[in-house]
Symmetry: C2
Subunit: 196 residues, 2 copies
Amino acid sequence: MPRPRTHDETLRLKLLDRAGELISADGPKALSLRKLAADSGTSTTAVYSLFGSKPDLVNALYVEGFRRFGARLATVPLTGDAVPDLVRLGIAYRESALADPHLYAIMFSRSVPGFEPNAEADDVAQSTLAPLTGVVRAAVSSGQFQDVAPELITVSLWGFVHGLVSLELSGRLPDNFSVSDGYEKALHANASGWLT
Amino acid sequence: MPRPRTHDETLRLKLLDRAGELISADGPKALSLRKLAADSGTSTTAVYSLFGSKPDLVNALYVEGFRRFGARLATVPLTGDAVPDLVRLGIAYRESALADPHLYAIMFSRSVPGFEPNAEADDVAQSTLAPLTGVVRAAVSSGQFQDVAPELITVSLWGFVHGLVSLELSGRLPDNFSVSDGYEKALHANASGWLT
DNA sequence: TCGCGTTTTATAACGTTGTTGCGTTACGCT
DNA sequence: AGCGTAACGCAACAACGTTATAAAACGCGA
């Protein structure tokens, strides 16, 4: 007997898509529920019935960002030789971040006030790094890398690429400095530091 | 002949101080000009006559953050032995960030929407890293480090510590992982990767 | 076929934000 | 003493996220 619902899965995807576009076009500040609803031909109520709140909408974007990230990292071909494999993963990581910088900002930079990723979202984030952890674990147990906790190596390498990408995206690097020029060499030096 | 001004340097410092406290207490979201003015016993106009806008006020905090950062890094005693020196600088960097995480978020994490550091602010940011660039340059020219562009090494090391600290502060690291345990070892591995 | 009940949705109201114009305030000079 | 002038507090404005309210749109029983 009720009224037929238009706040369905289709609209949910449309809103997510449009939200991503708004953010990519004019930054996270430009994402307003009123604009989003008007652009999508609905009302602000849709966001609340489909997501719960604005932070919850952003959380969905966060998850989507990590999903794309993980998909890209998973396609990197691995040879079993740790250092070049890690270099390739690092390059793919940077490419992913540069492909959608505003999404990367949501993932790592708290660019939307009031948004904190929930537990489910954090799990997705962890699983994204599976290829990296795999390579490191194998390199430690095969003796290529020093016998330290693999988590330490993983986090160090992740921190390194994230830090560089983060500095690059925030424009905080020296003006004359080109990341692409030395990135591979730096990756190599970084991974080599863990060799036996 | 005019009315005597109360929006003076004293009030400017008071506002900066209070703004830092508000942010440190409840995060960047909690910084509202009305609260800030009320807490400081003045009106919102003060912020506009002293800073220009809210982003400009945050810019002043940004500069202040880098100033404290630079002061702390400058006190690190250097021995001339590159790797241990860089480890010490890295430890001081993390300590500075952990000492005032919300200020660090302003410096690197765009936590206040609409704020972009201006040119003068970026200069301050660059000069903060002077001790780091000094050590790296000396290590390259003395032959301790590989003969690559010192900027590359500097940015790599900076990216590494920034990345780790950033991940730690955003709570994105695995729950069981303790940064303090392996941080020094990771710093060492990272710097060693550039040895000849 | 006509209304009633139920669920869903759009609209409008609320409180708060950054910002700006306006009127008052408070002094020095004539 | 009173006027000119600069500075300041207050209030209005537009926009935001959120919530309460009322209209809308269907199936079902009469």
